[in-house]
Symmetry: D2
Subunit: 139 residues, 4 copies
């Protein structure tokens, strides 16, 4: 219940944003792992009717950033995306894709996440990595 | 006139896609350089009201892909995004951002583009690179 | 025995090259996974006596390229490194580091490898990704 | 004279390191731009007698790190390579390659450098980017 409620909180927080606009929905959010799905439809495709690679990258940065925000005390620090990269290794033309961000390095100043995006048949769509910087808020 | 009409064609082609959904508008498209703008608004921001880094990456892949499509004979070949990366170096909270894709390598099999995204005051928002693969269509 | 002999073949092939110069030694090479070690010493350190990040990247490209070469018919095709990236997440000052390349995408035209470099205590030193292109030899 | 003496200092500092081992020589080092050359020979090639991509990445990280070290007060802070990436866009089989690191973002906490590596005929060999983190020394 803890887990689904954390995902629910993220979904509520992300109304009226790119995340909402792309139809992204958080499915699970625990320490060090965040999972979300995104529809392959008019909101996320490119002109040739398949998933736009840019939507995959936006999804990747979304799950990694949410994961980092969960690991810090947001009253004292903030997280900012520093570097994002990804290889597009498959295409999707309908249904949903599912992204899983898994932390690979949790330092004091930076977090590094691996992100894997699969389609509903578990075929790989994108493999990427997101570096997040943790910044102390100035007082 | 040639130039603006090429951008107009791209804008027409991109209706009903992610590109349209993010409010991206092509401003100029010539051989080896494509320029487009994107609004910083409810369609592209993250929950803390600034431009979502993922929107920048989607914009970057959009301008590079459009640029590559212009360089090939689309009846014989297709282009697919292979690898995309970017550093977020500034934040934007209103107005527009402008992306310029400039080709740095035009090979037979791959194109590599540098993409720079600036805000309206010409401050750097993102610096990235997109690798596009050119694939011969099977007959 | 098969496994060690493949690694031995790679070590023999790499005499008189960067790989030899950095003291890289292949430990294991099977389909889809290649493991090699590299010393942290005067050949690979930076001026402040810790492993130079560039040595890690060279090691990463080495294991991925060897892995790709094993997957193709070298009489018909060749492999070339296309894009390489990595996050340095730890430092090493003595002994050896061990790199493992694991294939995440084996396409007809490209291979994508995840590479993880650990120190002898299994602490993470680098996390990276290598994209290799497979090119048909012209006849 | 200032400029050449800065490069000379870097060359002296880098004795007995990977940088020396690869035959890298700094040619020029001014604020925001560092240039160095590297031989294409037995120290830097792969088994098929062309420049090993990993040598290019090592060279890229070398020029960017040197550039960042020049921008900070080394008694108070240190620089560490965070993320490095590059596209190999040409091959070199003899002579030298020349790398130029140009700063694209100089923040308080991070520096981002574009690095371009050319051969002696000014053909592009690699295009990359290096993110350096600036860390305050603990007292």
């Amino acid at each position: 219940m803890e887990e689904s409620s954390k995902a629910d909180q993220l979904n509520a927080l992300c109304k009226n944003s790119l995340i909402d606009n792309l139809g992204i929905e958080f499915l699970s959010a625990v320490e060090g792992e965040v999972i979300a799905k995104m529809p392959v439809d008019v909101r996320t495709i490119q002109p040739f009717q398949i998933l736009h690679g840019g939507a995959s990258l936006a999804l990747a940065e979304t799950v990694a950033s949410a994961g980092s925000a969960m690991l810090i005390d947001l009253s004292k620090s903030a997280v900012v995306g520093l570097e994002v990269n990804g290889n597009h290794v498959g295409s999707a033309s309908s249904g949903f894709v599912i992204a899983t961000a898994s932390i690979v390095h949790q330092g004091e100043r930076t977090h590094v996440w691996n992100v894997e995006i699969l389609d509903e048949a578990s075929r790989k769509i994108m493999i990427g990595r997101v570096t997040v910087m943790v910044i102390e808020k100035k007082r």
